[in-house]
């Protein structure tokens, strides 16, 4: 869209005064003042980090915003593509022009119901939209269309398997609510800081906000909850869940209370968490900061505020203090009819849900796979699909898991490829495993074939045929090779027969070499031993 369409639209630049640090978005740098302030305490804190006193209990809750991957925005026909040139995907509706009205994209409801069901929530069959009102330049209408007192889904839970390296175990975290809303635009701050510009491409993009119960107790649990949520939205196909692009954004609330106290401590909100690792570290830092203040009798210094995670210095710093409770003056959105779900619609969505990560993990577990394998296979939707497709061709689960976990994983890691990039297909992996099991090729040859398949593709049968790799399982042929080796190494035969039985390996290797690796190892060893031990 060219700018000529906007002869009446003025993209004003405007000044944002750096007052109270309020206008710092996640892209701005922290003030130097805060940096020096936290420097001293950070060094003392780091010593105490590993030994969080046992007499305090951290309480963590997470608000997650998931950007939905609908073709168009929530209330207009504009598409949204991350990274487009500013203000190229906007229209009167998402710009909030006078007289423009929102019309709901029905995909938003579908995605919300999908996620609500997947999170084991209760659905509201009669919900509505509300206006959340505040002024900010990235909010074109002066209100955000959201849901207030009747979210589309509530009272659910999410099951998570904590990885073994973090202690393992199964955890269930409560979901308070899931509601639909629209995203705001973005402010672009200039280098000089003299003014800011507004990009409304993101304005009106549909979001689901998922609010958890305050059920997490440490950074790992919180990160695993968020990671599971990411897997879920990817499994469901409702979002790409990309944290770097802001498709999945987590705001974390952390408080600490003495063990035994039922009242929650003062909670602090942490923003700017761009990865699960930083989320985990930020929470653990914040917990130790608060515990330290508690243990020093300075808990009154924990105030309700928003803190920013600083990746560079690995600490949280004050972003803004909350000045009383904001009054958003919610009221029902009169431009949109209420959202009525009917049972048939919900059933249709329920029946179309794919197998979810938790179900997958439990299924893999029942196959007898270890938890390490289960998590590796189920946690990545694409790997799980590959695994399942290989199983569907009749391969043995444990064998497939071994191949994927070892050589295939190593190859992907070395080549920095995802499972979708490799040339090996599930059909061929299944064929490969069958060929080894059926004795057509040896395990060693199998590995060689695997690497060729991974890098170049092709079929197992073709490669075996082309390279003449079929295993030699004919005893007569193997016997000939054994005879040859024995004849060529009289000295070693004498030593063997003199009691140096360790030389069996040498002979086996020589025979294998003669067979170009194709001799059936079991047969080879059997014949070799017979020959060596018969003193003919």
């Amino acid at each position: 869209m060219s700018y000529t369409s906007f002869r009446t639209f003025q993209l004003h630049s405007f000044l944002l005064k750096r007052r109270n640090g309020f206008f710092y978005s996640t892209t701005t740098k922290a003030t130097t003042q805060s940096q020096t302030q936290t420097k001293l305490s950070a060094s003392t804190q780091s010593k105490k980090l590993d030994k969080i006193p046992k007499d305090y209990e951290p309480v963590i809750g997470i608000e997650t915003h998931v950007q939905l991957s609908t073709l168009t925005k929530a209330f207009c026909n504009c598409p949204y593509n991350y990274g487009s040139f500013p203000n190229t995907s906007i229209c009167p509706v998402c710009m909030g022009l006078p007289g423009a009205l929102p019309v709901l994209n029905s995909k938003v409801i579908e995605f919300a119901v999908k996620l609500g069901l997947a999170l084991n929530c209760k659905l509201a069959f009669n919900s509505k939209f509300d206006r959340k009102q505040y002024f900010y330049p990235d909010l074109p209408k002066g209100y955000q269309i959201s849901q207030f007192d009747v979210p589309i889904a509530d009272s659910g839970y999410l099951d998570v398997d904590i990885p073994l390296e973090f202690g393992g175990g199964h955890k269930r975290f409560g979901i308070t609510r899931v509601h639909m809303e629209e995203d705001a635009g973005k402010l672009l701050h200039t280098e000089t800081g003299n003014y800011s510009q507004v990009d409304l491409n993101r304005a009106g993009v549909p979001l689901l906000e998922i609010v958890s119960e305050p059920d997490m107790r440490n950074g790992i649990e919180a990160a695993e909850y968020a990671a599971e949520l990411q897997r879920l939205v990817r499994y469901l196909g409702v979002s790409n869940g990309n944290m770097q692009e802001g498709s999945l954004r987590c705001d974390v609330n952390v408080s600490v209370r003495p063990i035994g106290q039922s009242k929650f401590g003062t909670k602090v909100e942490i923003k700017n968490l761009n990865s699960f690792a930083s989320m985990s570290r930020a929470i653990d830092f914040e917990i130790s900061r608060q515990v330290l203040l508690h243990s020093q009798g300075q808990e009154d210094q924990i105030v309700q505020e928003t803190r920013l995670w600083e990746e560079g210095t690995q600490r949280t710093i004050t972003m803004r203090k909350k000045e009383g409770l904001a009054d958003y003056r919610y009221f029902p959105e009169p431009d949109l009819p209420s959202v009525i779900l009917c049972q048939e619609y919900v059933d249709g969505i329920q029946n179309s849900l794919p197998e979810l990560p938790e179900e997958k993990r439990r299924r893999y577990e029942k196959m007898g796979l270890g938890m390490q394998d289960v998590l590796f296979l189920a946690n990545d939707k694409n790997i799980a699909e590959f695994f399942d497709a290989t199983l569907a061709k009749g391969a043995d689960a444990k064998l497939v898991a071994n191949w994927i976990m070892s050589d295939i994983a190593a190859f992907m890691k070395n080549e920095k490829l995802t499972i979708n990039d490799i040339k090996l297909t599930p059909e061929e992996l299944s064929e490969l495993i069958a060929s080894i099991k059926g004795g057509i090729i040896s395990g060693k040859i199998g590995k060689e074939i695997l690497f060729e398949l991974l890098a170049k593709g092709g079929s197992v049968k073709e490669i075996i045929e082309k390279k003449d790799l079929v295993q030699i399982a004919d005893p007569v042929e193997i016997e000939k090779m054994v005879d040859k080796v024995i004849a060529e190494n009289p000295k070693q035969v004498e030593q063997f027969r003199g009691g140096k039985t360790k030389l069996q390996g040498f002979f086996a290797g020589q025979v294998m070499k003669v067979s170009k690796g194709k001799a059936n190892p079991g047969l080879l060893n059997k014949i070799l031993l017979e020959k060596l031990n018969s003193k003919s």
Partner: protein, 542 residues
């Protein structure tokens, strides 16, 4: 403009409906309504049908017609100031010329061909400024036409200009316009009513054929009453609000002004119907409102026999001007003469309507007007701090009435007050809806005055907003109930140089505009001295 093409799909225009060249005649051969045959005392005729007939029979060209309207407009406008924006004559004439060309080529120029339509300034027009009567939108040109405007243009209508109004529809006199005060054509020392005062005055003074207004709490009906024209507020959702600058979204309706009932019906038919850009617009079928109209000559002596008319008792009690009450009682007698049974009905919740209306309308408006922040469009006051930019832009750009209403609405929605105000007002709204439903189960239509008084003096109520708000008592309940209502002049009170018109309000069941128009048409055609032409233009209107 590319942005528009993604928003508004082309729609077939001419196939949607066809107009009769005249009304149904039961026994006589039709006599065509022609302006030249009417006398000042004969009942009002459909100007739209008359124009269509004249154009198609080549008795008149669209250019000549436009010229005659423009001449009168230029003559009267300095006294009335109905318009905030008028394109130069050439723009209008070239549109008229295009219609003449199409007629000459044998094409159907559309049912509104050559009809000059004035549009209230809070209804977006892509080729003209649209300010909503507010300084904060001074010079603002929308990149799109409101759906109603788009449909008018597609059917051959020519937008003659943008009419004055109370800022964002907030007022009952048009004095709250940021730009000018409009005068009442019947007495230029008086207000035309509001907020659609410009659109009402323009039709009254025959500066245009018909006009579009908007009605949130009576903003079409009260000025229609003050200016002696027909005003139609359709059922909520009947006409798309897309392109109407929102005042109170759950109450706003685009409405029609005309000098005859038939004209408002034709205009409504043109703009009504579902619009995929307004989620609250109804999918109800739009009937041909005029198909049941009868020719005066074919009317029986009791054409409304059996019709049950309920006169709302609470609207003719204390506080209502005696002249207005007697005009309404006379109208009731006229209904009886037409064969109706007229009964007084009581709507006990009637008086609750005013406070409930003001809480809901102001709450919604406090939110709807948030977008006027000086950031993306409109007047911006440059400031060093964001808060000052907002504050200065809004305090300089918005008028005092608007600010007062935003403050009251903000208060009503604030934490701790929501239940006491907004929520209770919603409950009252439900009660009002139900009581109307009951009354309309027992009556086919309800009648009342359109306003408690005739037009008052400019400046008279400016210092007393509560008195002005109280004037909305007759109309706000209808918006709360979402019902259609038609206002038509029914008499005069002795005041001003030539008397002041009094409007009668007919209220019908939801989506029953057809019945209101049919009844209104018969009432108008049978009313003695039923032609309301203000003295300012009496000479130039045959």
């Amino acid at each position: 403009m590319k942005m528009l093409s993604t928003l508004q799909t082309p729609r077939s225009t001419l196939s949607r409906f066809s107009l009769p060249s005249t009304f149904t005649s039961h026994s006589h051969s039709p006599t065509l309504p022609q302006p030249s045959l009417t006398t000042p005392t004969s009942p009002p005729q459909s100007q739209i049908l008359s124009i269509r007939h004249s154009l198609l029979t080549r008795n008149l060209s669209a250019v000549d017609l436009a010229r005659s309207y423009l001449t009168r407009l230029r003559l009267t406008e300095p006294h009335l100031r109905s318009f905030l924006h008028l394109p130069d004559d050439q723009t209008i004439l070239s549109r008229a010329h295009e219609i003449d060309r199409r007629i000459a080529a044998g094409e159907d120029p559309g049912p509104l061909a050559g009809v000059l339509v004035a549009v209230k300034d809070n209804i977006c027009t892509a080729d003209m400024p649209s300010t909503g009567g507010s300084r904060i939108l001074e010079g603002y040109r929308p990149p799109f036409d409101a759906t109603a405007v788009k449909r008018v243009k597609e059917l051959g209508g020519i937008v003659v200009g943008k009419t004055n109004m109370d800022e964002f529809g907030m007022g009952s006199t048009t004095e709250a316009s940021a730009f000018q005060v409009t005068a009442n054509p019947w007495d230029v020392s008086r207000v035309p009513g509001g907020s659609s005062g410009g659109s009402a005055a323009a039709v009254s003074a025959r500066q245009c054929v018909v006009s579009l207004g908007s009605d949130t709490g009576g903003s079409v009906r009260q000025p229609a009453s003050f200016c002696g024209v027909v005003g139609l507020k359709p059922t909520y959702g009947r006409v798309s609000r897309f392109g109407l600058m929102a005042y109170a979204s759950s109450l706003d309706a685009i409405g029609c002004f005309g000098s005859s009932v038939a004209d408002t019906g034709i205009l409504l038919h043109a703009i009504a119907g579902h619009d995929r850009f307004d989620a609250t617009s109804s999918k109800q079928e739009v009937p041909n409102f005029l198909s049941h109209f009868d020719l005066v000559s074919s009317l029986e002596s009791k054409p409304l026999k059996g019709l049950r008319v309920g006169l709302i008792r609470e609207t003719i009690e204390d506080g209502v001007d005696a002249g207005v009450v007697s005009a309404i009682r006379a109208a009731a007698s006229h209904f009886e003469e037409l064969g109706c049974s007229v009964n007084e009905v009581s709507l006990p919740s009637f008086s609750l309507g005013l406070p409930a209306y003001y809480i809901l309308a102001l709450s919604e408006s406090s939110s709807n007007l948030s977008r006027y922040d000086g950031i993306r469009y409109g007047n911006q006051v440059y400031a060093d701090e964001l808060d000052s930019l907002y504050g200065d832009s809004r305090s300089k750009g918005l008028g005092s009435e608007v600010k007062m209403r935003i403050l009251m609405g903000t208060y009503a929605l604030s934490a701790g007050y929501y239940d006491a105000y907004y929520k209770r007002a919603q409950q009252v709204r439900t009660i009002i809806k139900n009581s109307f439903k009951e009354a309309l189960d027992q009556n086919d239509i309800l009648i009342s005055p359109a306003a408690p008084s005739a037009a008052y003096k400019i400046g008279e109520k400016k210092k007393d907003p509560l008195a002005m708000y109280a004037g909305d008592i007759m109309t706000v309940n209808v918006n709360l109930a979402g019902l259609p209502a038609l206002v038509l002049p029914c008499g005069f009170i002795e005041s001003g140089p030539a008397g002041l018109p009094v409007g009668l309000q007919l209220i019908g069941a939801a989506f029953d505009e057809g019945e209101l128009l049919r009844v209104g048409h018969i009432f108008e055609q049978t009313l003695e001295n039923g032609r309301f032409v203000p003295p300012i233009v009496a000479d130039s209107v045959e």
